[in-house]
Amino acid sequence: MFSSYLQYLISGLTVGATYGLTGLGFTIIFNTTGIINFAQGEFVMLGGMLAVFLYASGIPLPLALLGAIVATTIVGALMERLTIRPVKGGSSIQLIIITIGVSIVIRGIVMLTLGKDTFALPHFSGETPIALAGASFMPQSVWILAITGLILAALRYFFKRTLFGKAMLACSFDRKAAYLVGVSVERMVLFSFMLSAFVGAVGGIILAPLTLTSYDRGIMLGLKGFAACILGGLGNPFGAAAGGLIIGVLESFGAGLISSGYKDAFAFIVLLLLLFVKPSGLFGRAQVKRV
């Protein structure tokens, strides 16, 4: 009994960490621009797919992973330059639909160039399961949790201690004021897209060995990431990470104890219930308007 619970917990945390990373990407862009970027899941998919593709073309694994991350970050920059910056001052619904359009284009390009098949990436350090109190898990789970923790710590340092990070936070607080004190808001927006593409790609890469990857993986991952954000309270990066972990664990227990078919439904049902009780999310600071 205990060992199967532990098993659910570990697999839930593992998948949840990547939901959290996706959610983190949403938050970074939302904070500087107020946009929910529906192409966020596509960044995760791109990271995984490009890594598979580069590795298959004969490049050693670490270099392939690095290449995938760099390429995805460039895609993030291109997206901002080509589709977001030209629409300065557009309504948020207009911008959301643009990001949906971009996600369709990215998915289409990957489908046409890399195919519709499902791919696997080799595990980073072997596939010998680690046993713990009756439960067993892959070493990849350790990688996922460690890298997620590392990214969270690095982001925290970045936003709290570096001038650049503080400038980005200033943009999220008040764009006009940030502009007046000399922060280049345009550059911050560009950088936020790159940073969230980077975080998304890392999430996609560390998850790919465990759950396989294909061109249409991004939709569900994006939705779960968005759910993680809302669960944690929109605009709070660490809330998003925690929200992701909670969703992952809920899903894993739901699938194990009730039914695997409804796996995706549990997280959303709990989220709906939470929104009805506490509309600002678990860690939301800002008071959400209620009627």
């Binding site: 643009i98 369709i104 809302i230 009805f276 209620r290």
Partner: protein, 322 residues
């Protein structure tokens, strides 16, 4: 009074006339089936436009109401053998009832939280369609839905089915138009501009939001009914998240808060893939690209863009005249 009524009837009547003439301009019978789907989508988009364009409330889960309508009538008529008139009542009433139940807590939310809640609701319903295999047939779909026959008349050809859905669309537009010009519509517009001001002016905003949500769900249920009995086969994949997004895009691309906008948007987005089919593989790519480009350069949508262009041309002409 009489003039007002005849005016409010005139526009939908002219529109219906146009719709009915449309098939004669098309050489290929295949296009009639595309037109049927255009009309069905336009019915939902018109309802969603009432919610989004006029009341300013976003819904990312409208495909769920469409699916509920389709599955409700499928189960009622095919599984239980109930008369189709009853199927229609169950489809429209069922969607409206679910909207009422889900709307009470959901519409208390605003902005991205409302988007997430409706999205979550849509996904849960989608998973329900997939998993309750004994009821819905699961992912492989529900087969053997009877063709439409109401009050003893069975609709046989695609062309007569088209006339039926075109009439239904005209009816939906007639209802929406009257609604927008009524006290109800003015309350919605007030609510869109400022919820607080509307509340101070004595508008019961929670009630109005709920009413328009229920109405738009009922339209979607009607569309689901028409869809199920046209194709005689339904599967969950038609009612997923991407379809909700497509509906939202129809409204925004056509032009929010213009009734014609949502109809134009629905016709445009439904027929676009048919035109793009020539390009085979890159169809989906072009679809996404057109979406992005349209939104970048036509922020007010197609109808809004044309209106403002016409306005600009007119003022320029007046300038040169004066």
């Amino acid at each position: 009074m009489l003039r007002a009524i005849s005016k409010s009837l005139l526009v939908p009547a002219v529109f219906l006339g146009l719709l009915l003439v449309l098939p004669f301009l098309l050489s290929n019978e295949y296009y009639v089936s595309v037109l049927i789907l255009c009309c069905i989508n336009a019915i939902i988009a018109a309802g969603l436009n009432l919610l989004m364009g006029y009341a300013g409330q976003i819904s990312l889960g409208h495909a769920a109401f469409y699916g509920l309508g389709a599955y409700a009538t499928a189960v009622a008529t095919a599984t239980f053998g109930l008369p189709m008139e009853l199927g229609l009542v169950i489809a429209v009433g069922g969607s409206a009832l679910v909207a009422l139940i889900i709307g009470i807590p959901t519409l208390k939310l605003t902005g991205h939280y409302l988007a997430m809640a409706t999205l979550g609701f849509g996904l849960v319903v989608f998973i329900f369609f997939n998993e309750t295999i004994s009821l819905t047939g699961g992912p492989s779909g529900f087969v053997g839905i009877p063709r439409l026959s109401l009050f003893g008349v069975t609709v046989q050809s695609d062309l007569s089915y088209y006339y039926l859905v075109a009439t239904a669309l005209a009816l939906v537009i007639f209802i929406s138009r009257n609604l927008i010009d009524s006290r109800f519509g003015r309350a919605l517009k007030a609510l869109h501009t400022s919820e607080k001001a509307a509340q101070i002016a004595g508008v019961d905003i929670a009630r109005y939001k709920l009413m328009v949500f229920v109405l738009s769900a009922a339209f979607a249920g009607l569309a689901g009914f028409l869809y199920a009995h046209y194709l005689t086969f339904i599967a969950p994949s038609s009612f997923g998240f991407l379809y909700s997004v497509e509906l939202l895009t129809m409204v925004v691309l056509g032009g929010m808060a213009t009734l014609w906008g949502s109809v134009v948007g629905a016709f445009f987005l439904t027929s676009l893939p048919e035109f793009l089919r020539v390009f085979e593989n890159i169809e989906i790519l072009l679809f996404g690209a057109i979406l992005v480009v349209c939104m970048m350069f036509l922020p007010q949508g197609i109808v809004g863009g044309i209106t403002s262009l016409a306005g600009r041309l007119k003022s320029r002409k007046e300038e040169s005249d004066g």
